[in-house]
């Protein structure tokens, strides 16, 4: 059982190295996109493996998805509201 956790941890460390490594390559706005994508991947690993969301009951999946959707609302509509300013 702990083997699965260690693999997840290795994956996280790899992604961390990837993030830091990618910051040396000048990609302009691409850097931020890469950073966020890697961060989302790390968060997904922690959620699925460490927090056992994968083996949790469907209700937990619904809850996690709902929070994700509401954060999306918060960011997208705040951007629409304030970008003109």
């Amino acid at each position: 059982m702990t083997r699965r956790l260690v693999y997840a941890w290795l994956g996280l460390m790899l992604l961390l190295a990837l993030t830091v490594g990618s910051s040396f390559i000048p990609l302009g706005v691409g850097n931020s996109v890469v950073n966020l994508a890697i961060a989302a991947a790390k968060a997904a690993i922690v959620l699925a493996v460490f927090m056992e969301l994968r083996r949790g009951e469907p209700l937990l999946h619904l809850a996690a998805a709902a929070v994700g959707f509401w954060l999306l609302i918060l960011f997208v509509l705040s951007w629409i509201a304030l970008r003109g300013v």
């Binding site: 709902a66 509401w70 609302i73 509509l77 509201a81 300013v85």
Partner: protein
């Protein structure tokens, strides 16, 4: 006349003395704790409102000074929004009835429930002290940079207090969501739940997802005010519109926190007194969830003229029109429920019918403010004040009264006096309309809100409104008196005085500490009124 205590076995008799009340984890007693504190806050907010209305009888400011007037409407705003409207139905009727309606023994987290009351009491008393003694005059909206730089009242303490009260709302929200998912009676599928449970669930979803944003906003406000981090301070590069954006992201869903439970109460009362199943039950259930979701998309309509881009204005105006659809469906279905029924006009029904009418008018006024071209003129005028009071007072408080009267026999085991109830309901309806309809006209004429003095040509409408406020104040005092009287000396109530359907009516009035002697089982859809039961697929 001895004080005839309610019968032996009910939750009243579980323990005697203050300790048993202050340390209880019984959801019914916690509902009582909330009921007493909320009633106190309602009359504190009401007193502030009465002073404001008396001041506005004359165009000059001759009752109180500018400063005191600004503090009065700040107290009225903060106390009414956060210490009465947001918690009122969920924390009192919701706490008492949710376990009963689900056939459960108690909420999922009883200790968390008691903790939420203590957090509420500490936060609200702390805030009340801060705004009264500290002279907070920023209004309940705390707009930056007035609140962060220019106001000299104890804004940080008030913001910290509201921050604490926010956690009480979050705790109640978590408790209700988990209870609705995990503690339903055997056979009680989602579409056999009463609409009151649906609306409490939708309210809890909004509570849980919106209140943390208020907590973050108030935290940023305090950090900006005390340490000057400059997030909202334009001189340091911050953006006052950012504050408005984050504040209204919470505050518009908050108004749906306030109105949804009222819709739930009315969805229980009208079928019972019309002896008809609720018309289009499934659609009313879906529209409750629809309101909870859509409520989060529309907050930009508070910022149409505040420097927000025109593009954003058009987007939010469109979404604000869409959010009216679920509410319109509900109003239509409440009216259709009356058709071909056996309508009786007990006090709860009078309040419920009043709710449907006044809430509909409030909602239609909302369409005015959602239309961009109109909001440019009517924003921040008394038209807005009339709009949200029609929904909060005409809708929410009326539904609160309907719920209190409808479930009073179940909660206390006593009947209230029916004719006094009818008088109070009629007086409230008249007083309310006399108070707030003239404000629609004042807003149209262009009187801005939060004005201590105003040009003389607005005086006649203000005098009408103030007269209405006196009638309303008297109408609110009546239930306080006759319900308290009924608590001790009212006629004994049978288990189901209204022959209503719903699990809460299958136990004794008042219910025993463990709610049900035999675990109720649900076999069919709710609202088993009238001959022909609502088919499962309704």
């Amino acid at each position: 006349m001895t004080l005839a205590a309610p019968d032996r076995s009910s939750y009243w008799r579980e323990g005697a003395g203050i300790r048993s009340w202050l340390l209880t984890t019984d959801h019914k007693r916690i509902a009582w704790l909330y009921l007493t504190s909320l009633t106190a806050f309602f009359f504190i907010g009401g007193a502030a409102a009465t002073l404001i209305r008396i001041e506005l009888v004359t165009p000059q400011g001759d009752l109180v000074s500018d400063d005191v007037y600004n503090r009065l409407f700040t107290i009225h705003g903060i106390v009414m929004v956060w210490f009465f409207l947001v918690p009122s139905i969920p924390a009192t009727l919701g706490n008492f009835l949710l376990p009963l309606m689900l056939g459960a023994k108690d909420l999922a987290f009883p200790r968390l429930n008691l903790a939420s009351w203590y957090v509420f009491m500490f936060g609200s008393c702390f805030t009340l002290y801060a705004i009264v003694a500290g002279g907070v005059d920023t209004g309940w909206t705390f707009y930056a940079p007035l609140s962060t730089v220019y106001s000299n009242g104890h804004v940080s303490m008030a913001a910290a207090g509201v921050f604490i009260v926010g956690f009480s709302t979050i705790m109640t929200g978590i408790n209700f969501i988990v209870t609705t998912h995990k503690l339903r009676a055997p056979g009680q599928t989602w579409f056999r739940l009463p609409i009151f449970v649906w609306t409490l669930y939708a309210t809890s979803v909004v509570m849980v997802l919106a209140t943390p944003v208020l907590a973050a906003t108030l935290l940023l406000l305090v950090l900006d005010r005390i340490f000057g981090i400059g997030v909202f301070d334009p001189t340091k590069g911050g953006d006052p519109l950012l504050f408005q954006n984050l504040f209204w992201f919470y505050s518009h869903p908050a108004v749906y926190i306030m109105i949804l439970p009222g819709m739930g109460v009315v969805s229980e009362v009208i079928p019972c007194f019309a002896r008809r199943p609720l018309f289009g039950y499934k659609l009313v259930a879906y529209s409750s969830i629809g309101i909870a979701v859509f409520g989060f998309l529309v907050w930009g309509h508070h910022m149409f003229v505040s420097g927000q881009s025109t593009y954003a204005g058009v987007v939010f105006s469109f979404l604000s029109f869409c959010v009216a659809i679920p509410s319109a469906i509900k109003v239509f279905n409440w009216a259709m429920t009356l058709r071909k029924g056996q309508v009786s006009f007990d006090t709860p029904m009078l309040y419920a019918l009043g709710f449907v009418g006044l809430f509909a008018f409030g909602g239609l006024a909302g369409l005015f403010l959602a239309a961009l071209g109109i909001d440019v003129d009517l924003h921040d005028t008394y038209f807005v004040i009339a709009h949200f009071h029609y929904i909060m007072v005409g809708g929410m408080v009326t539904a609160y009264m309907a719920g209190l009267h409808f479930w009073w026999p179940k909660i206390t085991g006593r009947m209230y006096s029916e004719w006094l109830g009818k008088i109070a309901a009629g007086l409230m309806f008249l007083g309310f309309n006399l108070t707030f309809f003239p404000q629609f006209i004042l807003g149209w004429l262009g009187m801005p809100r939060r004005y201590h003095t105003y040009p003389p040509e607005f005086q006649v409408w203000n005098v009408l409104s103030s007269a209405g406020a006196v009638v309303l104040a008297f109408a609110y005092a009546m239930p306080l008196l006759y319900l308290t009287w009924a608590l001790f000396w009212g006629k004994r109530a049978p288990n189901n005085p209204w022959e209503a359907s719903g699990l809460e009516w299958q136990t004794t009035s008042p219910p025993p500490e463990h709610n049900f002697d035999v675990q109720p089982v649900v076999t069919g859809p709710p609202y088993q009124y009238g001959g022909q039961a609502a088919e499962e697929t309704a």
